[in-house]
């Protein structure tokens, strides 16, 4: 009986081989960028194969590194090819004109009830939905600043955990609400990415 880990490792190495072979054969710049993303996924599979709590904690930074490199490379590709996208109007769907208010409010309230990372994702989804459907004329620097400060509070909460463990309840609440605001702010920016001066 071959252990599961070995089978998984074999599959991951085979996928890596296929991805590298494809990357070797491909000459078009954009397609090569997409193929590197394929390799990133195999990287995450390598970490995920370990299958412990620690591996779960390691996947997130691995994913962040991959995504940030992908964004940086896309930006380089866009600049070097000289692509400038004209700003497009938002979604023109009649239902979307009236629906987002109540739906976004429900999602945001439910996200605040959930709090923490998942709550931020739910509330962020509501804000994305609102920005996608309605016009967006917000002060984006303000959102980014709020996101930055809440990230700092999150880190402060971790220092409280390490240095003053007796105040753990305060730190839990601080971390929960700070990560809620951070994820919400970061995700809400996605809803506004449609070119133009603010994007």
């Amino acid at each position: 009986m071959i252990p599961d880990y070995s089978i998984g490792l074999l599959v991951a190495f085979a996928s890596a081989g296929v991805a590298f072979f494809a990357l070797m054969r491909e000459t078009d710049g954009l397609h090569r960028l997409l193929l590197t993303d394929l390799i990133e996924v195999v990287t995450l599979a390598f970490i995920a194969l370990v299958g412990t709590d620690l591996a779960e904690a390691l996947i997130l930074p691995g994913l962040v590194v991959g995504v940030s490199e992908l964004i940086a490379l896309s930006e380089i590709y866009r600049v070097k090819e000289g692509y400038v996208r004209p700003p497009a109007a938002g979604l023109r769907i009649e239902v979307m004109e009236s629906a987002p208010g109540i739906l976004a409010a429900i999602l945001v309230v439910y996200g605040i009830v959930l709090s923490g990372f998942s709550g931020g994702a739910v509330a962020g989804l509501g804000v994305i939905f609102y920005f996608l459907c309605r016009d967006h004329s917000e002060r984006f620097e303000l959102i980014e600043t709020a996101s930055g400060y809440s990230w700092v509070f999150w880190i402060v909460a971790f220092f409280v955990f390490m240095l003053l463990p007796q105040y753990w309840f305060f730190a839990v609440m601080l971390a929960g609400s700070a990560i809620l605001v951070k994820v919400l702010a970061k995700m809400s920016l996605i809803g506004t990415m449609r070119g133009g001066p603010n994007a």
Binding site: Y5, A12, A16, F20, L23, G29, R32, L33, T36, I39, E40, V42, T43, F46, I47, L49, V50, L54, A55, L58, P61, G62, V65, G66, S68, E69, L70, A72, L73, I76, Y77, V79, K80, M162
Partner: protein
């Protein structure tokens, strides 16, 4: 534990995740620190073009404002290198190494000219692909030994698989390829001299560190 870097001078523990400095890594850390300080203090180099066949020359002035992004990337690269020097956890080391890779892409890509951006794009793809052996090696080491802490691995309860070490080294080589691409794009002749050197220095330092790690564990 083969202490090729000398005995530990300083250890900061967070559980089994720790930072430590031996004389070897401290030397590398100080190199990165000094160069980051120089990059913060120095002004961009002014260039002089000699007109061929005469006495005339053109002096090019490079303003600090043009170089802001590259200076920021250089400082970030220096911080990432310093982190990689002190880290006693293999996964943290791989994260710092890939951060060095990303900031090097930023340094190379800061020049807005077509062939420089082409080189930066090629290097970025290499750096991105190199995360596969880098994280793959760390994951293999974790899976076989159950720990990522360098002192615990060096204590040697379970032997670290050579393929894990090889993948780790291969990944760092991929992340540290920046000087070749900077040379390919002739960036060493482009204005903004002190910042480009950070590519070479950080690549050298992370490579020296991964050699130490591969021998120690």
């Amino acid at each position: 534990m083969p202490e090729i870097g000398g005995s530990d001078l300083f250890v900061l523990e967070f559980g089994d995740i720790l930072h430590y400095y031996s004389p070897y890594t401290l030397t590398l850390f100080l190199l990165a620190l000094i160069f980051t300080g120089l990059a913060i203090l120095s002004r961009p180099e002014g260039q002089v073009d000699i007109a061929f066949g005469g006495d005339a020359y053109y002096a090019k002035e490079t303003a600090v404002s043009e170089m802001r992004f590259r200076r920021f990337m250089t400082i970030a690269c220096g911080l990432a290198t310093m982190g990689a020097m002190g880290s006693g956890d293999i996964f943290n080391f791989t994260l710092f190494a890939s951060l060095v890779g990303i900031t090097n892409v930023g340094i190379v890509a800061a020049v807005k000219s077509r062939h420089v951006l082409d080189a930066a794009y090629e290097y970025g793809i290499v750096a991105m692909v190199a995360t596969l052996p880098l994280f793959g090696g760390a994951a293999l080491i974790l899976a076989t030994t159950g720990t990522l802490s360098i002192p615990a691995l060096a204590a040697g309860a379970i032997a670290v698989p050579p393929v894990g070490k090889a993948l780790l080294a291969l990944g760092v080589i991929g992340e540290g390829m920046a000087p070749f691409y900077a040379a390919k794009a002739e960036m060493f002749r482009a204005p903004g001299a002190p910042y480009v050197i950070m590519c070479s220095l950080s690549s050298l330092l992370i490579f020296l560190r991964v050699v130490e790690i591969a021998i120690t564990i």
